[in-house]
């Protein structure tokens, strides 16, 4: 447990600002240390809550807002314990500085892995409660009464025996002079009981609602600084390719184009990581001119080492690797013997292609490298790594780079990788002016960090009663760790830990899970829900197939396979490394009973088993990811020509303690649309190493008319007393298998490859 203590007596600093504020910070080095500081004590703001004399409460959000509602949810936690009036709360977006703004001390301020709420919940409560205790003592001191008689309620301090009260702002100066209690030896500020919460667990609109509806919210490309130039970059069509030569004559004739500069290719022996890969940049005064300038460039490209990469051939290799997967990562009983004795053996192969993220805001970054510290403004999920890689690109120390985080116009994992900021940094230094690098949609689709394609081969044995006695699952995918180690052919515990090694079917007596190897010839990176997508797809589809092969009800069979165990102990199955989303298995155990509960709830709420019109089918899937348990029921309507619509979706989510139920519902609604895209549309292919898609006409995503418009979200309260779990990603994985199962129910067609096309359904 983190140690909390009063760092020091408060420091009286002469602030040039007239306003005195009470400021409470959390410092993390290496433990959580609470400090009362005053006003401009630190050169950099260093606090999580600040209360000004007018009573305005400013709460720091240290995570990136990309639509998941983090700028609302995390401050709600602190505001609740503080007894703040939400209408008087302002949010301040922290720059990248994990030593100050990573209160859990282990995330580097990265916003990914659906971990923001679970890693902030306790520390934000304690910060809010600490501040509240100090305000109560300050009021007591002003009145000359016993602090035990003062209570904070709704932004005021009340002394009920005398009926007096003061606004938070009226005690700020006294509070700033008070010592924070030493929270040592496990002592903690007194937290509210659940029944006393005003905001936690209650639906709140997002704090940016007004700005987003008014067009005044600030995203990456909305930042402007004096003297700024705009650039677009022609990048090698093939990953790790390079420009052999280029002719900029025509480009430079275009009004508004000022410079054409080569960003040097990354040396061949340096892994891609999040670095700029090189290209020819056109720099000028406006986006239109430089885009036309780029079109006018004449460039001769060298394809580099991956010019022969054909995704079609690669897909076949993946299938063979999955079928021959030999590296056993989980083993229970004797699968081969059980298969030999089985009354029935069923096998199937599942395939999921490469995807790209396609956030509505393409990557963009503004960097001013003409000054020190260098300034970055970017819609980044990873402000720390942005500083790190920009510093490296400039040959500077990370301490000499600042990163300001704008709103993110969607991200889905793409904006964890700051290659685009590195490009802007290199160009800014080269031309001696601030530079915004704007990626076009074509750039985003052709130069992504792709979700790796995957193949899985499954084989199960069943006895005469239809009980599953053996389960073999072989999987192969290009690992995202090739970003750091390009020669790595095997998957990682992190990727296998997303729904593969932690197969939830605890009641099967014989289990073998194995992985195969594959080359990585394209830039692979994490994408919303990551490997859970394919693992949930194969597992849930195959379980449904087993049920239908034996005339059993699929949901009954799934419940039988999952069982109701309190926890799943993978160590007993010889699993050596359990990644568990970066968290301890003790704090966030794998709990089959919660998955079963979610499945039962979605079956009940969706009316599973109800009679449906002709051509309709209801399919169900469930999956644990990011510690949450989500079950999804999709109703599909399939027309005779194979076109389909989704009349209704039900989603049951158990994410433990939730902060903003409206936010959870929105994430589930959106996850179904995201899931619908990858189930029906998204597919990246390559020819001679180059990505063949370029924009939304050939990389389509779900539009309003083809996705679900009636998603009913059922928040599960049965385990709300347990720790918060992820919300941003867990809604995605169950959607595609639920849809595939629904299509089977409607048509009898089993679709084992994504995306599911009309031909798959009518063939």
């Amino acid at each position: 447990m983190a140690r909390i203590l009063n760092l020091s007596r408060r420091h009286f600093l002469q602030s040039t600002s007239a306003a005195t504020a009470f400021v409470l910070g959390a410092q993390i080095a290496p433990d959580v240390i609470m400090a009362a500081v005053r006003g401009a004590e630190f050169a950099q703001p260093n606090h999580f809550v600040r209360i000004d004399r007018d009573g305005t409460v400013t709460i720091t959000c240290s995570r990136s807002e990309m639509g998941q509602g983090v700028r609302t949810g995390i401050p709600m936690i602190l505001a609740d314990e503080l007894e703040a009036d939400w209408s008087r709360v302002r949010i301040w977006q922290a720059p990248g500085d994990p030593e100050k703004y990573d209160p859990a001390g282990k995330d580097k301020q990265n916003t990914d892995g659906s971990r923001s709420t679970r890693h902030h919940f306790t520390v934000m409560r304690e910060l809010g409660a600490s501040a509240r205790e100090v305000l109560e003592r300050a009021a007591a001191e002003q009145w000359g009464v016993d602090p035990g008689e003062v209570r904070a309620r709704h932004h005021r301090l009340h002394h009920d025996p005398s009926g007096r009260s003061l606004d938070f702002g009226e005690v700020v100066e006294t509070a700033a002079d008070l010592e924070i209690p030493d929270y040592q030896d496990g002592a903690r500020p007194a937290l509210k009981t659940e029944g006393e919460w005003k905001y936690i667990g209650k639906s709140m609109p997002v704090v940016d609602n007004h700005d987003m509806s008014a067009g005044t919210a600030t995203y990456g490309a909305d930042v402007r600084v004096p003297g700024m130039k705009i650039a677009v970059v022609a990048r090698p069509p093939v990953y790790r390719g390079r420009a052999l030569k280029f002719d900029a004559t025509d480009a430079l004739k275009i009004p508004g184009v000022e410079r054409v500069i080569e960003i040097p290719p990354l040396p061949a022996d340096q892994p891609a990581e999040f670095r700029a890969l090189g290209g020819i940049a056109v720099v000028g005064t406006n986006t239109w001119s430089v885009t036309r300038g780029r079109e006018a460039l004449k460039i001769e490209w060298d394809s580099g080492p991956f010019g022969s990469f054909e995704s079609e051939t690669f897909d076949d290799a993946l299938r063979r690797a999955a079928a021959n997967a030999a590296s056993v990562i989980r083993h229970r009983g004797d699968v081969d013997a059980a298969l030999a004795e089985a009354d029935q053996v069923v096998e199937a192969e599942y395939f999921v292609p490469f995807f790209t993220h396609a956030p509505m805001e393409p990557p963009v970054a503004l960097v001013d490298a003409t000054r020190k510290p260098v300034r970055v403004w970017a819609p980044t999920q990873a402000p720390t790594e942005t500083r790190q890689y920009v510093a490296e690109a400039l040959g500077m120390d990370m301490a000499d780079v600042e990163c300001n985080v704008t709103l993110l116009g969607g991200a889905f994992g793409r904006k964890s990788k700051p290659d685009f900021a590195c490009e802007a940094a290199i160009l800014s230094r080269e031309i001696g002016a601030p530079v915004r690098v704007q990626w076009t949609r074509e750039d985003e689709i052709r130069h992504g960090y792709y979700h790796g394609a995957s193949a899985q081969y499954l084989k199960a044995g069943l006895d005469a009663d239809g009980r599953v006695t053996a389960w073999h699952q072989g999987a192969a995918w290009p690992t995202l760790f090739a970003l750091w180690n390009p020669a790595q052919k095997s998957g990682s515990a992190l990727e296998a830990g997303m729904g593969l090694v932690d197969l939830p079917y605890d009641r099967i007596p014989n289990i073998r899970i194995a992985t195969g190897e594959t080359d990585v010839m394209i830039r692979v990176g994490w994408y919303r829900s990551v490997n859970n997508i394919q693992h949930a797809f194969a597992t849930n589809s195959f379980a449904w197939e087993l049920a239908r092969a034996t005339d059993r009800d699929p949901v009954d069979l799934m419940l039988e396979l999952i069982g109701d165990a309190e926890t799943l102990d993978l160590g007993k199955d010889g699993v050596e490394e359990i990644w568990n989303y970066g968290d301890s298995i003790e704090d966030w155990p794998i709990m089959p009973k919660r998955l079963a509960n979610a499945l039962r709830i979605v079956a009940r709420e969706s009316g599973y088993g109800r009679s449906l019109p002709d051509g309709h089918g209801l399919g169900v899937a469930c999956h644990r990811s990011f510690h949450s348990y989500v079950a999804t029921a999709v109703e599909v309507a399939v027309a005779a020509d194979g076109t389909l619509s989704i009349p209704r979706v039900d989603v049951a989510i158990d994410c433990g303690r939730y902060v903003n139920p409206e936010g959870v519902r929105k994430q589930m609604e959106g996850a179904c649309i995201y899931g619908h895209t990858l189930a029906r549309h998204g597919k990246i292919t390559t020819k001679s190493g180059a990505v063949q898609q370029s924009n939304f006409h050939d990389y389509p995503v779900t539009r309003m008319s083809d996705g679900p418009l009636d998603v009913r979200v059922h928040l599960i309260d049965d385990y709300v007393h347990l720790r918060p779990c992820g919300v941003g990603e867990p809604g995605v994985p169950p959607y595609a298998p639920a849809l595939a199962n629904a299509i089977f129910e409607a048509t009898g067609k089993r679709c084992r490859s994504l995306p599911i096309t009309r031909d798959d359904i009518v063939s």
Binding site: E65, G67, Q68, P205, V206, D208, N209, H210, D211, M212, S213, A214, G215, T216, A217, Y219, A221, D222, R224, I230, P255, G256, T285, N286, T287, W288, T291, A358, P359, M360, E361, P362, L407, G409, G410, A411, T440, R441, E442, E662, K666, E669, G670, C672, I673, Y674, T677, N695, F696, H697, V701, T702, R703, M704, S705, G707, P708, L709, D710, V711
Partner: protein, 150 residues
Amino acid sequence: MISFTVNGTRHEVDGDPEMPILWYLRDELGVTGTKFGCGRALCGACTVHLDGAPVRSCTTPLRAASGKQLTTIEGLHPEANHPVQKAWREHNVPQCGYCQSGQIMSAAALLARNPRPSDAEILTAMEGNICRCGTYQRILAAIRTAASEV
């Protein structure tokens, strides 16, 4: 010389008449509520009104605005209280918010010409606006609400 108004203010442009309205707004005027999403009129993030009609500003050249009234999200209502904007907030539509300027402009244009659209008419009008966060069901609900108020 191209002459038109942007949110009621007169502008005269001497530059390239082929420049898409989007980049004139964003890069020349610094009016940034209108967003860039695809550059090919495929996603609707850049939707603005020309004499009240929705157009994709990323592919509509400046010359097409000649003599017309151009309205962006900033000019839809002085306090951002157009019925569509109010309904957007009532239904908590936005997630990342990036596409929402374009969504709101498409919805406002729909209701201006068809104050009581059917759901099918809403879907048709909004088909060109992509939301990758997946807020469509709230967009539909918000347009239904706004339709009862315009």
